[in-house]
């Protein structure tokens, strides 16, 4: 049938395969992009692990003589065995092993250990790296989610594409049901019909699949390049990604694309081949209504033409399903995405950038460093360009708030009756609450004491005596009140986890003013009682309290009106100064703001691109539908004309159809978007007026106009084909029956 029918059909009906080609192209593009991005993500992860952990596959620790080392190196599957000087000690040597084939790592490393006379517990595997090659050890219980996530996302993408594009194939195939009925009546088997349709689909899709794949590869490379431009290596722990590709990825992508498109084509082909010749031959290909339908609104607005257009749209409902679904989804997703980003932008700006505008310029995190061990405080504070620098560390502790100490205001609100058992525990003496300690360098602590009017001493704590009105969930506009009565001159702290022990420290002052740090207090646990203490006091009590967090932070403020270049220079200076001694990460406020901005722009571009792709699928379907149904609709319009409808009235029908198709996404989206935005406003406590002032009306309007414009264009082209309608010829032409 291919030789005798399908080949000629494709050759002579180039326009009818348009939507099939477009669907195949978009599917290939999306899936290729997905696989390319996954591969690059995988490659980036491998590189990251190699940078952070090293590229060794396994390592053995023990005492090795020269001969043993030589025999390890000569082991059949070992590519390289290198002594790791950094990890080795005086008594034990660490040998990093690299294998030729990564799947031999798990079975061969114990053999090598045996050969070297080392016990199996001295073996270490590079689990994260091995997992990247799908080599898992039974003792590695960490959930390595990259591959499962890829399989899940690809599966979902393929499934969604099948749902969306199978209709394009169905449209092209169903337009010829009658012809396949004729084939069937002269003896074509269901299998022959199915094979013919699938061969036709393969011929139509071959080029779009290849083009889509190539563009997808280019797109994934571009996305990696874009991520480098947007994020660079400024984000702590991120390195420059090197875009790459592998022939196996191309093979896998082609396989997934072909499978997706094959299923999309097979579904309607199978359905069509199951029709009996009688069912198929009786199908005139005309759009039919199964039941009587009314279009009261369209009839009311545009009279008989409105009613006819409404019925025609209802009859085309199945054929236009892809278009409706894609256009509505595209418009809905785009609108909600735009609103979400606007709202999120307002929220981040208010709760983060504006709130901490003057709290920090540079934040340096010293990994695994205790504040009392940090010796360079004075040097950092004396650096040119530094207006203020605070070195601090957080530590956890507990304290008991007795019933009698609860402030009047809190008592009125029910005391601890709203407190979650996760953070607050009732004891015989009172309420055991968290008392986080912020240990500050002595100079900064003394400055802070002066700032709040407390006596500048290094033997006590400043207690933040305020609590949020927990009954009011509006986190954006919280109401504060005193937490405890300010009667006690001492605070009794208890180590977290060993609450029976007590450490008594003097309270220098109770205050509601916190020092200028980029820290948040009482955000999750509203009942925590924050204590600021100097590092001198911490040295005295740390033996009893412990509980210090791993890292120490340095908060730096530059001179007023500091620029990004000045901050970058200061950041480099600090890295040079401390980088040799400490493992550190540093952030820069202006750069972070810019990166955040770029990230949001990048995310918007990705999501927006996806929405535009959906819109392309939708408008592509409208094009193929309106053009594909030209012949069937010629007959429909000939009938209307035979009962007296003028060409002008038919054109009016076309306009109404285009209007409804273009307007439908807006009408469906509007109430849903209002509901979604209302919900988001409620959750974020952003005022409606504030959102409306920045509402993304222009991009939404532009997408709407673009969609509507394309739908109108499709109908205009269709009308041009249709207007030369010759009544007698159409009604006489029975090859359409």
């Amino acid at each position: 049938m291919w030789k005798h029918y399908a080949r000629d059909f494709i050759k002579n009906n180039r326009s009818s395969g348009f939507s099939v080609r477009l669907s195949a192209f978009i599917s290939a593009l999306l899936l290729s992009l997905l696989c390319g991005l996954f591969y690059n993500d995988w490659k980036y992860e491998v590189e990251r692990i190699e940078i952070e952990e090293g590229g060794w596959h396994s390592r053995i620790t023990g005492e090795f003589d020269r001969d043993t080392l030589e025999s390890i190196k000569n082991f059949a599957t070992v590519k390289e065995a290198v002594i790791n000087q950094k990890e080795s000690t005086d008594t034990e040597t660490v040998v990093d092993l690299y294998f030729d084939r990564i799947n031999t790592v798990i079975p061969d490393t114990p053999r090598i250990a045996l050969l070297a006379g080392v016990s199996p517990d001295k073996i270490t595997y590079n689990y994260p790296l091995l997992a990247m090659y799908l080599v898992r050890h039974q003792e590695d219980t960490a959930p390595r989610l990259l591959f499962p996530l890829f399989i899940l996302i690809t599966g979902l993408a393929s499934f969604s594409l099948i749902i969306i594009i199978h209709n394009a194939f169905a449209l092209s195939m169903n337009a010829r049901i009658h012809q396949f009925g004729i084939f069937s009546s002269i003896g074509a088997t269901p299998r022959q019909i199915r094979t013919c349709l699938l061969q036709e689909a393969a011929a139509l899709c071959a080029l779009p699949i290849l083009t889509g794949n190539l563009l997808g590869i280019g797109g994934s490379m571009g996305a990696m390049h874009l991520s480098n431009v947007l994020l660079g290596s400024h984000i702590p722990g991120r390195h420059q990604a090197v875009p790459g590709y592998h022939p196996l990825v191309l093979l896998l992508t082609l396989l997934i694309t072909v499978a997706t498109i094959w299923i999309s084509a097979w579904l309607p082909a199978w359905k069509l081949s199951r029709l009996t010749p009688l069912e198929a031959i009786q199908n005139t290909g005309e759009l039919q209504l199964k039941r009587r339908k009314n279009s009261p609104i369209l009839a009311l607005l545009w009279g008989a033409e409105g009613e006819l257009a409404g019925n025609a749209l209802k009859a085309q409902r199945k054929a236009l399903r892809t278009a409706s679904l894609s256009l509505v989804l595209s418009f809905l997703a785009f609108t909600i995405m735009q609103c979400f980003f606007t709202l999120s932008g307002i929220s981040t700006r208010e709760t983060y950038f504006e709130k901490y505008q003057d709290s920090w310029d540079i934040l340096v995190t010293l990994k695994d460093t205790d504040v009392d061990a940090f010796q360079e405080t004075g040097t950092v504070q004396g650096l040119p360009g530094v207006e203020d620098a605070v070195v601090y560390q957080r530590a956890s502790a507990k304290t008991i708030v007795e019933e009698a100490r609860i402030s009047e205001a809190l008592e009125t609100l029910g005391g601890f009756s709203h407190a979650s058992g996760k953070f607050v525990t009732k004891t015989e003496k009172g309420w055991l609450v968290n008392a986080p300690l912020i240990i500050m360098d002595d100079t900064s602590f003394l400055n802070y004491c002066q700032q709040i009017g407390a006596s500048p001493r290094l033997d006590g704590a400043v207690v933040i005596n305020q609590i949020r009105d927990v009954t009011n969930p509006d986190f954006r506009h919280p109401v504060f009140m005193p937490y405890i009565r300010e009667e006690n001159a001492v605070s009794v702290l208890r180590p977290a986890g060993k609450e029976e022990a007590e450490v008594e420290i003097p309270v220098l002052s109770y205050t509601d003013q916190v020092p200028t740090l980029r820290e948040e207090y009482a955000t999750l646990d509203y009942y925590e009682l924050v204590h600021f203490i100097p590092v001198s006091l911490w040295r005295e009590i740390k033996g009893e309290l412990d509980g210090a967090k791993e890292d120490t932070c340095i908060r730096l403020l530059g001179k007023e009106g500091v620029t990004l270049e000045e901050l970058n220079a200061l950041q480099s200076q600090i890295t040079r100064l401390l980088g040799q001694t400490y493992a550190l990460e540093s952030e820069n406020r202006i750069l972070e703001y810019e990166i955040n901005d770029k990230q949001i722009q990048g995310l918007k571009a990705i999501f927006g691109g996806f929405c535009v792709l959906l819109a392309i699928i939708g408008t592509g379907n409208v094009f193929s539908n309106t053009l594909g149904f030209v012949y069937q609709r010629k007959r429909e319009f000939a009938r209307y004309m035979s009962v007296g409808l003028t060409p002008g009235q038919i054109r009016k029908m076309f306009c109404i159809e285009a209007l409804v198709i273009g307007l439908r996404p807006l009408l469906i989206t509007l109430p849903l978007a209002v509901l979604a935005v209302g919900y988001m406003l409620k959750l974020s406590y952003v005022a409606a007026g504030e959102f409306l002032a920045e509402a993304p009306l222009l991009p939404i309007l532009l997408l709407f106009l673009a969609v509507w414009g394309f739908v109108a264009l499709a109908y205009a082209i269709s009308w041009r084909t249709m207007r030369g309608i010759h009544l007698a010829e159409v009604l006489r032409n029975d090859t359409m029956m």
Binding site: M1, H4, Q179, G181, I186, A188, T189, N733, D734, T735
Partner: protein
């Protein structure tokens, strides 16, 4: 030699209150080389009978044997192959594939079996049907009579055991109708082709050597004219 046998064939459409009996216990035999016309008013069940004989539809009850094959035992694929090789179908509205040339339309049943046509037989069929100079034309470029002749040529190309024609002249003018009936008679005489033709036109029916009348799904008369 018997080529067709129907035993107690019934066909019921729908269920419950919407049940319509199209055929009721039809018994019928046709011998090789016979030219039979089935006549009846609209809705009498003659087209249903033809669809069942052509294996495009199945009876609700009863048995149909064509050239020794029981049609009720065939699945969809076997029925299609049977149609291709044993039955030629001619419709009122020709049912030619509009995108294929006349030649390709005629040869399609053979192409489905990946068979090459016998050149001599092909030329004989198209020659006797007056299509030799129209083989490269598309169906839309032919007159109604020519299209129907092309449909007959297609139905004869596999030398079927039985040629079933459903109102073959129903869409044609007087002159073309006469031509088509002459063609059918010619193939009946020259090729010894068994033909079963459905028509509502009594004059056309009288051209056949046996006329069967159907009314309300039952055979009410079976008349041999020669």
């Amino acid at each position: 030699m018997e080529i067709l046998r129907c035993e107690g064939v019934s066909k019921v459409y729908g269920s419950g209150n919407n049940q319509v009996t199209a055929l009721k216990d039809i018994d019928l035999t046709v011998s090789k080389g016979e030219f039979v016309a089935i006549i009846g008013a609209s809705g009498s069940g003659k087209s249903t009978l033809l669809h069942i004989l052509g294996s495009v539809d199945k009876p609700t009850k009863g048995k149909v044997l064509i050239d020794g094959t029981d049609l009720s035992t065939l699945n969809q694929t076997q029925a299609a192959i049977f149609r291709r090789r044993k039955v030629g179908l001619v419709y009122q509205f020709y049912n030619l594939i509009p995108t294929l040339t006349v030649e390709k339309n005629i040869l399609m049943p053979l192409a489905l079996d990946r068979k090459k046509p016998e050149k001599e037989y092909f030329e004989k069929v198209v020659g006797s049907l007056g299509l030799s100079d129209r083989l490269e034309a598309l169906p839309s470029q032919l007159s109604g009579g020519q299209q129907q002749r092309a449909a007959i040529a297609r139905s004869l190309i596999y030398r079927p055991a039985l040629l079933l024609a459903d109102e073959p002249t129903g869409n044609l003018d007087q002159k073309n109708s006469c031509e088509i009936i002459d063609m059918l008679k010619l193939s009946n005489h020259n090729l010894e082709q068994t033909i079963l033709m459905i028509t509502h036109n009594e004059k056309t029916a009288l051209e056949a050597e046996r006329v069967i009348t159907i009314q309300d799904g039952q055979i009410i008369r079976d008349e041999r004219r020669r």
